[in-house]
């Protein structure tokens, strides 16, 4: 039988129907922070169910790590897109019409969108009280700073950082910013909720069926066993389908309607549901003149938006891996998850590693330049090897960074003359502690059924479980089935995230198969990895197994326009032992391509907290014709190697490799994505530095370690300081590009930065890009 993906027969949660089901639509707040004064739904036709805040006033709160969400906000909206009330009608069209008939009155209150601004002592508070969750997703010590917008502060302390910097011959410091991004799975989130008496059943494409069960049970005040979650295959997820998204509202609507209710998010609503954390990361590194790293001080701010979701976990992971795979005697990291009035930000492929890897690996190249050491040599001199101790105090095993980095360098024919080439090496933790269990049943007809909560989102989870079971049972893979996760049937598992499932389930399955062989009909296996970090010192076991990756990029830049192309991109990752090779290759290539989008153009744009590019025309994801001339990768295996997770590892190293390739040409870009406008700015800044010796102080690399911040030096150009007029004398092509940059800045947060040009002129290139995408998209029609 042909694969259901090529015949179209595969059924996603989009395709689920239930008898008598209603279709839901949401009324969303257009303002970012406001009190709800009134909701008038009197114009909604009879027969359409309207769910209002008072209908859910009896419910508790939900949230995987911090209980900060209500099924519907009772008094106050916290972001533009927050759901105020919901309707359910017999057809999607009737629901659409009804949503437009609901009138809501708001009283706006001050809002904050930037993670740095949110830390100011007079910043509006997004949540007055921060209540921790007791769910298993809150698996680490969360340290909210009550009375501030910091919902988690993770600290890592290793050695004596001040003494380390004193002993350094060279210190570099820089601040970086990365944009928020959309997961943009091709399938928008969809769910069907229904009640059978006091039992709730939700069919929803979710990576986290058991966390969903716990959170919904808590919200409705019922036993976990009264909630059943079924997770059909997902049309992509990448973190977007973790924890409770639309399901709480769907379940509350179904409760009121006494009928099944289906929710399918519109594409624009995906941006109002969950995104990747925008982040600001400051990195300071000190080294001796021979290149030995002696101190590292890093501060991370993860903008988690209006609701924490798993932002505390993202900030913690962003923080503990921020120092990178290097031996550094003295390390200090402060990493915060910060509330703002943006839509919630949560799990996204890479889980915070991209943001801190971008910052650190770019800084390593600044340091290499200052020390006049080859960036490859600088990394190699300090890189972690087997048996070394990481700054968390844990001993590193099965370490392959050196080999990965060398392979990356070889792929771009790295040499002393490295113009246009850049490198990156990184590590990423797997969720620790973590628990997985699995059951295998002998169907007594030569076939076996594997039951586990590992969800299929395109990564090939089912296939790999079947292959592993077939190998262990000594039967053909066709004899093994692996049904969709159903919390009524499958044993408990933490969740399908963190590139943990293949690794953890392989180990659990070994136990289950041994149990089956002993007991005959059914075998059960469970593995629990202990560990975890002290959140105040960052000491302990950060990861029971580390994901290891590297990348190399080669770029060609048109310095007149700022346009550049990535001509070669290579990412070697450590794969231990590969089970399903095509799937592993696809995961690696897919990670790289998503990393390419992050590096080059993906950016959520906001105006007064409202998302302004919530569609796949204005928000570009990589298409086939965006591929580099050569995109290649490696799955580095080892004889007897452990099965490794590899669903994310190749994403984070891509943007820094590209950023460093530009830096080899003197083009220092601190913000992602690396738009042509930012390249132009950096080219101008370089040329200004080269032409004006007095401007050397503006260079981010400074002897005292307190050099200019990238943003600030950018501001100097635009703020009308003596450098300002230089820009207006450039060619008209540059002006247009500069105005576009300014329009974008205006659209984000700081209108005062609009220095010259008009928004109207700025729109021209936007429209040109849009038309280009349209024409490309419609070429076939």
């Amino acid at each position: 039988m042909a694969d259901a993906r090529v015949t179209g027969a595969i059924r996603y949660s989009q395709d689920i129907r239930a008898d008598g089901m209603l279709h839901a639509r949401f009324v969303r707040s257009p303002v970012a922070h406001a009190r709800i004064l009134s909701i008038d739904a009197s114009a909604v036709p009879e027969g359409v169910v309207v769910l209002r805040p008072e209908d859910v006033a009896d419910l508790g709160r939900y949230g995987p790590q911090i209980k900060d969400q209500e099924a519907l906000p009772q008094r106050r909206v916290r972001y533009a897109g927050d759901v105020v009330c919901a309707v359910a009608a017999e057809t999607p069209e009737a629901a659409d019409e009804s949503v437009n008939l609901v009138e809501v009155e708001y009283k706006e209150i001050p809002a904050v969108f930037d993670e740095r601004a949110a830390l100011a002592s007079d910043a509006p508070l997004v949540h007055e009280h921060i209540h921790l969750s007791k769910d298993d997703a809150a698996y680490f010590g969360i340290r909210p700073q009550q009375g501030t917008n910091t919902c988690h502060l993770f600290r890592l302390r290793h050695g004596d950082v001040e003494a380390g910097f004193e002993a350094a011959d060279a210190v570099v410091e820089e601040t970086y910013r990365t944009a928020g991004a959309a997961h943009a799975p091709m399938e928008p989130n969809a769910a069907v909720a229904r009640w059978d008496g006091d039992r709730l059943e939700v069919t929803t494409g979710t990576q986290t069926p058991f966390n969903m069960r716990t959170d919904l049970a808590g919200l409705f005040g019922i036993a976990e066993e009264k909630v059943r979650i079924i997770s059909p295959p997902m049309g992509g997820a990448f973190g977007a389908k973790t924890f409770v998204r639309t399901e709480a509202i769907a379940a509350a609507l179904a409760r009121k309607a006494e009928k099944p209710v289906k929710v399918v998010l519109g594409r624009d609503e995906m941006w109002m549901t969950l995104n990747r954390h925008p982040a600001t990361v400051r990195v300071k590194i000190g080294a001796r003149s021979d290149g030995t790293l002696v101190a590292c001080d890093i501060e991370c701010l993860a903008n988690t938006g209006a609701y924490a979701d798993c932002g505390p976990g993202v900030a913690q992971k962003m923080g503990f891996a921020a120092p990178g795979p290097y031996r550094i005697a003295n390390v200090r990291v402060d990493s915060r998850a910060v509330y703002t009035n943006l839509p919630p930000n949560g799990a996204f492929r890479g889980y915070g590693q991209m943001q801190s890897t971008w910052a650190r690996e770019r800084t390593m190249d600044l340091l290499a330049e200052k020390l006049d050491i080859d960036p490859l040599d600088l990394r190699m001199k300090n890189i972690l090897e087997d048996g070394d101790t990481y700054c968390t105090g844990e001993t590193m095993h099965d370490v392959h960074f050196k080999e990965l980095l060398q392979n990356a360098a070889d792929a771009v024919r790295w040499s002393g003359r490295r113009e246009g080439k850049g490198l990156c090496v990184m590590l990423k933790g797997m969720q620790t502690p973590s628990r997985a269990s699995i059951a295998v049943e002998d169907n007594a007809d030569g076939t076996y059924t594997v039951r586990c909560a590992t969800a299929e989102m395109g990564q090939g989870a089912k296939k790999v479980m079947r292959m592993l079971a077939a190998e262990m049972l000594g039967v053909d893979v066709e004899k093994i089935s692996c049904p969709d996760p159903d919390t009524d049937v499958v044993p408990y598992d933490t969740r399908t995230t963190s590139s943990r499932s293949t690794h953890m389930m392989n180990r659990a399955l070994k136990v289950a198969v041994a149990d089956l062989k002993e007991n005959g009909k059914r075998g059960y296996g469970e593995v629990v990895d202990g560990g975890g970090l002290d959140p105040d010192t960052g000491q302990g076991v950060a990861s029971s197994h580390w994901h290891q990756g590297a990348a190399a990029a080669e770029v060609e830049v048109d310095e007149k326009t700022g346009k550049f192309s990535v001509v070669r991109l290579h990412a070697p990752i450590y794969a231990g032992r590969v089970i399903n090779r095509p799937a592993a290759e696809l995961q690696n290539e897919g990670s790289m391509i998503m990393g390419l989008g992050t590096a080059l153009f993906e950016s959520n744009e906001f105006a007064d907290g409202q998302i302004t590019n919530a569609n796949l025309s204005d928000y570009n994801v990589p298409a086939m014709d965006d591929m580099p001339d050569t995109l290649s990768h490696e799955l580095v295996e080892r004889e007897g190697g452990e099965v490794q997770g590899l669903g994310e590892t190749a994403l984070p190293p891509v943007p820094p490799a590209i950023g460093n390739a530009l830096y080899s040409l003197g083009i220092h870009v601190t913000e992602l994505p690396i738009s042509p406008e930012r390249v132009l700015d950096a080219v101008d800044a370089r040329d200004d530095r080269d032409e004006t010796p007095a401007m050397a102080g503006a260079h981010p690399v400074s002897a005292d370690g307190h050099g200019g911040d990238g943003d600030e030096s950018g501001e100097r150009i635009f703020a009308g300081t003596p450098d300002g007029p230089v820009r207006t004398q450039k060619g008209s092509d540059r002006e247009a590009a500069g105005i576009l940059t300014e329009a974008k800045r205006l659209a984000t947060s700081e209108p005062s930065k609009l220095f010259f040009g008009t928004l109207g002129v700025g729109l021209v290139p936007i429209i040109v890009v849009w038309l280009y995408r349209r024409s490309r998209g419609s070429e076939k029609s």
Partner: protein, 168 residues
């Protein structure tokens, strides 16, 4: 209103609202779920069907405009079409959500150009997005599908892509 057209070789007459797009009608009235709601603005290709042989975005085509037309969705290819087999052989998918649109677009490409260059494939398929990022293997699949015999064409392809170097 009633709209009559042929879908996958069968004449049908379905109920549709005048302002409705073809995508919703195919899914609701005919349970053809291989056409998929994704971008809603005709830029991602996940809702692709062939209208009189040409790939179109059904999310932006008014259903009444399909009156009298011949529509093909991937359900109509059976399962053993050379392009489908090439996609399986190349393992050119992950989640599978964009795959029907990719297959139909590739089918039309190969009808237009029996031996497309890498550049042509990238440009032609550029209007179909795959967020899983299977582009390298999709390109492989198109090369594999060149000619009527899927396996027979395998040796003739040449691409600039390097395959992974596994094994230590």
């Amino acid at each position: 209103m009633k709209v009559a057209f042929t879908v996958n070789g069968q004449a049908v007459e379905v109920e549709a609202r005048p302002e409705e797009m073809l995508l919703g009608v195919l899914r609701r009235e005919l349970d053809l779920t291989s056409v998929r709601q994704t971008c809603g603005v005709g830029v991602c290709g996940a809702c692709t069907a062939l209208l009189d042989g040409e790939p179109i975005s059904t999310c932006i085509l008014l259903a009444p405009l399909a009156e009298g037309c011949e529509i093909t969705t991937v359900e109509g290819l059976g399962g053993n079409h050379p392009v489908q087999e090439a996609f399986v052989e190349a393992q050119a998918f992950q989640c599978g959500y964009c795959t029907p649109g990719m297959i139909l677009t590739a089918k039309r490409l190969l009808e237009e150009d029996a031996h497309p260059s890498d550049e042509k494939i990238k440009t032609y398929m550029g209007g179909n997005l795959c967020r899983c990022g299977c582009y390298a293997k999709i390109e492989d699949a198109v090369h594999l599908a060149v000619g009527s015999s899927v396996s027979g064409a395998a040796g003739s392809r040449s691409t600039g892509r390097e395959t992974s170097r596994g094994g230590m």
